[in-house]
Symmetry: C2
Subunit: 182 residues, 2 copies
DNA sequence: ATTGATTTGTTGAATAGTCAACAAATTGCG
DNA sequence: CGCAATTTGTTGACTATTCAACAAATCAAT
């Protein structure tokens, strides 16, 4: 786990940060590899050492965040919705620039769908349509419904510049999920 | 000038920043090479690639700032005292952490004297003891007197957390020098 | 379409950084 | 003091990054 060469970690970190920054400034298609290299203070060739092109680079960035969130779910599996949501929103806060540009930028609706897929996947275990208040519902309907709700809340939060503390929005969305998924 | 290998520039930058940060947190003697490497996110061996030990490292940092200030004098040689001082105080501001820890820390009175030497050296050209209001004075006395005054003002400025904008203290010290060195 | 300019990937040689291991020096504490 | 632990400085083998140069692809405008 910790056997990644320090140079690799530093280069990739710089490159990914550069992309995030640049994406908050201009359209992804207008970003050139040289732009990224300049911003990351890295030779242009170094980028090709790790990524085949800028699309691959963006993909890997998305993939990484999705995986991190999935991992957070693992470690938060025994928490309440409120606590678990808080872990997520803390992560969002820590990576503000990435998520806000990803959810704002026109160029990356792909991210939104990857994000929704993850949420649905993770909530599958939480939904029970055999009994309780959701007994008799179609599972996919429930998942799509509340998955979209969560994504929508997150989008709203970012687009409005995080008007609530992570703690608060986590509690409120958590309470809404509690009420509906029991 | 711009032919320094990017890796060297980045490593040295990280190392120097690490030292500055650490010095603002603890005594220089308590800082270990490993501390610096950790903070700079650099292998310990890399430090020895550029510096023989931590004293050499600190020396080179001081040397570099002194040289930068000297260079600023060159490019500001045609300015008034006020303008010239402003250039200096801007530089101080930009490197706040370094100068404030250097002038505060007990461990580095060496820097203060290097700094004073530079000021005296640079003001040599400005002082005229053959005529005018300083006619008949001993040149060394004048230089030591006003050099110390400038160092003292800078020290005060840092130790009190830069209570005035750089522009203001530059103008005021500039006016005092004008009045005395004509 | 035909230019000319920019961007893209790729290459090879040179160099800097990493890592692990080592002995010597220094520190700190009972 | 004397011993253990830490820190130091150095080594060698390995790898990532740099840089300059290149041809191919893409772009922009006439």
């Amino acid at each position: 786990m910790s056997k990644v060469d320090r140079r690799i970690a530093k280069s990739q970190e710089a490159i990914k940060n550069a992309v995030t920054e640049l994406m908050s400034e201009k359209n992804f298609d207008d970003i050139t590899i040289q732009d990224i290299a300049d911003r990351a203070n890295v030779n242009r060739g170094t980028i090709y050492l790790h990524y085949t092109d800028k699309y691959d680079l963006l993909d890997k960035m998305i993939e990484e965040h999705i995986n991190n969130l999935r991992e957070l779910c693992r470690s938060a599996s025994e928490m309440t919705f409120q606590e678990g949501n808080y872990v997520w929103f803390e992560y969002f806060e820590r990576h503000y620039l990435f998520f806000s540009t990803m959810l704002a930028s026109k160029g990356a609706p792909y991210f939104r769908s990857r994000f929704l897929d993850l949420i649905i996947e993770e909530y599958k275990a939480e939904v029970d349509v055999t009994k309780g208040k959701n007994g008799g519902f179609n599972e996919d309907v429930i998942l799509q419904f509340f998955g979209s709700a969560i994504v929508g809340a997150v989008e709203w939060w970012f687009k409005n510049g995080m008007p609530l503390p992570a703690r608060v929005i986590a509690e409120q969305t958590g309470a809404l999920l509690d009420r509906n998924l029991e």
